[in-house]
């Protein structure tokens, strides 16, 4: 690895109103180096990369690529200087082929077809050189997420980028696809290219990067070679304090609280139909549902929330078959529901903290009488929950819209857990949350299980599932695998099942 800097950021400062999103950030990237950029939400990672790529103009500071200054505010100049960005959300046209997508925006539209043979040759040599294979004539809409990401990377390489920036590249990938991605990135780096990847997954940083830079509140708080640090040190630097990790103390499971007996369901726009689902959760137990997003988890969550009724099979809650699935019926039956879409589904964003804490209980005796709300009871309950669940906001009358994601999730947990549910459905409960809030959510779920609730935890994050679950089932194409004990299951095997290989449906054999 050579030590010639290909990219140098000096004293980058950017203010949004009174907030310093970037405060005097300097960093260098060497040729043939893989740099991880870490930080909590709002630490300034995305702002910094947007400045580098010319989407924002910095208030102060300069960017140098290969020793020459990059004019600010021009994505075109950044591209010309060899800086390429792979966004978290892909920017591909599904109804075009891989080759067309790569030519689009690079080659002039004039003579698009005529140039395609040359483009194909160039693409072929790139694929050969970096061992990144995709069928150039395949339609993008038929590709897997991992393949689409490869197309995005090829698109950047096609434009002769020497510096690749990847924003949360593994957020949508299976473990195998992630491994494949990092192998590709290694290959790029070994041929002299340089890579910056933005992430908050510490495991990836430790496994893949050469060096890491941690941002907090817009400042560089730690810059170190990966060999010289540990995941604990990085976590501490990101948060500013050490976060107590939620730990699981196994508890003998109690009675069955939920049994899905061959449940089928379908709903438009919610992924594949649920096909003969069979799962069982007992008191004190956390059952993890693993899977790549879009494999039916949303529909399973809707089903357990009472939004979607099954078209076949039985939903059995504590021995009772549920005949009419509605949200109100599920709440009455003691199901606590934590949806993945906090602002849209879980909360009424324009109403207050107190009102949102009340949406599931206001009709109960004690909180309303003869159609009149009992504000005194609702307010004292809200004050108590805000205290116990550490919901930080301007007050019970603050609109929920102004809360941070972590405080929104704590609000939902407060609403759900205060009702003493027998079963908890948690769908992506820590998605988009920072480390501190994630630890709090984990602790609440573990505490609820210890008190005797059964938990169905749907997550795309295998680390989270391994940390919390007693057993794990994999969801693939609307089907569920046999449950595996977390203590004995092999991570790689789960990964293969998530990608549909070696997937055996429960009860299918």
């Amino acid at each position: 690895m050579s030590n010639t800097p290909v990219l140098r950021l000096r004293g980058i400062t950017k203010h949004f109103g009174p907030l310093a999103a970037n405060d005097d950030i300097s960093l260098t990237l060497n040729a043939g180096e893989m740099l991880a950029l870490l930080g909590e939400n709002g630490a300034g990672k995305t702002t910094l990369m947007s400045i580098l790529f010319g989407h924002y103009v910095a208030d102060a500071g300069a960017v140098e690529v290969q020793g020459s200054p990059l004019p600010p505010g021009s994505p075109k100049a950044a591209l010309a200087a060899g800086v390429g960005m792979v966004h978290q959300h892909f920017t591909l046209a599904g109804n075009m082929t891989v080759l067309e997508n790569i030519m689009l925006g690079t080659e002039p539209l004039w003579g698009f077809r005529r140039n395609s043979a040359r483009a194909l040759a160039k693409l072929g040599s790139l694929m050969e050189r970096f061992r990144l294979h995709v069928n150039p004539h395949a339609m993008v809409r038929g590709l897997s997420v991992g393949e689409r990401q490869r197309v995005e990377i090829l698109k950047v390489l096609y434009r002769d980028a020497r510096i690749l920036i990847l924003d949360e590249p593994t957020a949508v990938l299976t473990p195998q696809e992630s491994d494949h991605l990092f192998a590709t990135l290694r290959e790029l780096v070994s041929q002299g290219l340089s890579v910056i990847f933005i992430t908050h997954k510490l495991r990836e940083v430790m496994a893949a990067s050469d060096r890491c830079v941690v941002l907090r509140h817009g400042r560089v708080v730690l810059e170190t070679s990966t060999k010289a640090t540990s995941a604990e040190e990085l976590a501490k630097a990101m948060v500013g304090a050490s976060i107590p990790q939620a730990t699981r103390t196994p508890h003998p499971p109690g009675d069955e609280v939920l049994f899905l007996d061959g449940v089928r369901a379908s709903a438009p726009d919610r992924g594949p139909d649920l096909d003969e689902l069979r799962l069982s959760v007992r008191a004190h137990e956390i059952l993890g549902i693993a899977g790549v997003s879009g494999n039916g988890q949303a529909l399973l969550a809707d089903l357990l929330s009472g939004i979607v009724a099954p078209t076949g099979g039985h939903v059995i809650l504590r021995g009772q078959t549920v005949t009419r699935l509605t949200p109100a019926a599920m709440i009455r039956a003691g199901v606590g529901r934590v949806p993945d879409d906090r602002t849209g589904t879980g909360l009424v964003a324009d109403m207050t903290v107190m009102e949102n804490l009340s949406t599931e209980i206001y009709r109960l005796p004690g909180f309303s009488k003869r159609g009149m709300l009992n504000f005194k009871a609702l307010a004292s309950r809200a004050a108590q929950l805000m205290d116990v669940f550490d919901i930080r906001c301007a007050g019970p009358d603050a609109p929920v819209r102004k809360l941070s994601g972590g405080n929104m999730q704590k609000l939902i947990l407060a609403r759900v857990l205060s009702q003493g549910p027998h079963l908890i459905l948690a769908n992506q409960p820590t998605w988009g949350l920072d480390v501190g809030a994630t630890a709090a959510v984990h602790q609440h779920l573990l505490d609820a299980a210890r008190r005797g609730a059964g938990v169905v935890l749907i997550s795309e994050d295998l680390d989270e599932l391994f940390q919390l679950s007693d057993r794990i089932q994999v969801m693939y194409q609307g089907r569920l695998s046999e449950p595996e004990d977390t203590a004995t299951v092999d991570r790689a095997r789960l990964g293969l099942m998530m990608s549909g290989q070696t997937f055996d449906q429960r009860g299918a054999a």
Partner: protein, 349 residues
């Protein structure tokens, strides 16, 4: 140019901004008055004097405000639940028709019973009438903006047929109008020798009741929650369907009460020009009030001042009373803009 939500807005601004906006609207319209060759100060002075300058003027203004309070409340309640009821005009006439049907001789009760009876039956008819498009919306996803708006014309054509046909009053010397309501159905006058009638008090009471309901009751909470997020209130297990039906009954009922009030308080008999668009103006009233039930009273009085005052002003200095329409329209724009700016701040790059 970017928009940023403001962190917090002082209460003073929330009230002050719409008032400033109205002043701004009057300043803009002053240009038109100048163009028409009159002094804006004199014109506005005459307008205010014509609307508020004497007991008679004041009672005229409040009489005009009465149906606007009812239809404004109707729109405010429905819009709060995101039920876009543009059919206030039709529901107004449904209420008036009901009162004509029952009140022109079919039933005669002492006034203290007759008046509540006509208001309640009228409100029920208007509420049930709005259930038709509401049902089409919830069952067939038919856009209620379209269906409620078009039903206005259906109702007007039916009224047209009624006053030219079966309900035509033989004593009206050929005019297309229905028979007058019985004496016990007429609303008592509040101020002697004026047209201000009991309907105004009823309208104020309705505004207070609606405010109380929205603020303190389970139903009000549900209406606000369903309006703020249908998805989240469904998820929370709220009775969404029942809430929408309740909202429709209330909204249609309030608009119909405007019809009963005009029929039994002002005119006494049903004609095709009983409403000069009160149903539509109610939407403007509600928007000016930011859908607040008590604000509806203020904005209804404001619009009544503009219209009554403009008539008087145009008689005095010969400026077309269309200035009233222009002023209301410009006020609506400036007030909406002001309310937007109290929520967001504009940043120029």
């Amino acid at each position: 140019m970017r928009l940023e939500p403001r962190e917090s807005v002082a209460f003073g601004w929330q009230v002050g901004a719409p008032l400033l906006a109205v002043v701004a609207a009057m300043a803009i319209c002053s240009g038109l008055i100048l163009w028409a060759g009159a002094s804006p100060l004199a014109a506005w002075g005459l307008l205010l004097k014509g609307a508020l300058g004497s007991t008679f003027a004041l009672t005229e203004t409040l009489t005009r405000a009465t149906p606007l309070i009812f239809t404004g409340l109707a729109a405010a309640v429905a819009f709060r639940a995101k039920l876009w009821n543009i059919g206030g005009e039709g529901q107004f006439y449904v209420g008036a028709c009901m009162a004509t049907w029952l009140g022109t001789g079919m039933i005669d009760l002492p006034a203290w019973l007759m008046i509540p009876f006509l208001f309640l039956t009228g409100a029920l008819a208007g509420g049930l009438f709005l259930l038709i498009p509401t049902w089409l919306k919830t069952r067939l996803k038919a856009d209620e903006v379209v269906t409620t708006l078009l039903l206005n014309f259906v109702v007007l054509l039916v009224v047209n047929w009624l006053v030219f046909g079966p309900w035509k009053d033989p004593m009206a010397m050929g005019w297309p109008q229905a028979a007058p309501v019985v004496d016990s159905a007429m609303l008592p006058v509040l101020v002697p020798k004026s047209s201000l009638h009991l309907g105004f008090v009823l309208a104020l009471a309705c505004a207070g009741l609606v405010w109380w309901m929205m603020r303190f009751t389970v139903w009000g909470f549900e209406i606000r929650a369903v309006g703020a997020s249908l998805k989240a209130s469904t998820f929370a297990g709220m009775p969404v369907g029942a809430t929408i039906v309740r909202t429709a009954l209330l909204s249609g009922g309030l608009a119909a009460m405007a019809g009963v009030s005009e029929l039994c308080g002002v005119k006494g008999y049903l004609t095709l020009d009983l409403s000069p668009g009160f149903g539509y103006s109610g939407i403007v009233v509600a928007m000016l009030a930011a859908l607040h039930p008590l604000g509806v009273v203020l904005s209804a009085v404001f619009i009544a001042i503009i219209y009554i005052g403009a008539d008087s002003m145009s008689r005095a200095i010969a400026i077309s009373n269309y200035i009233a329409d222009v002023t209301t329209a410009v006020s609506l724009l400036t007030v909406l803009l002001a309310m937007f700016l109290t929520r967001y701040r504009i940043r120029w790059k």
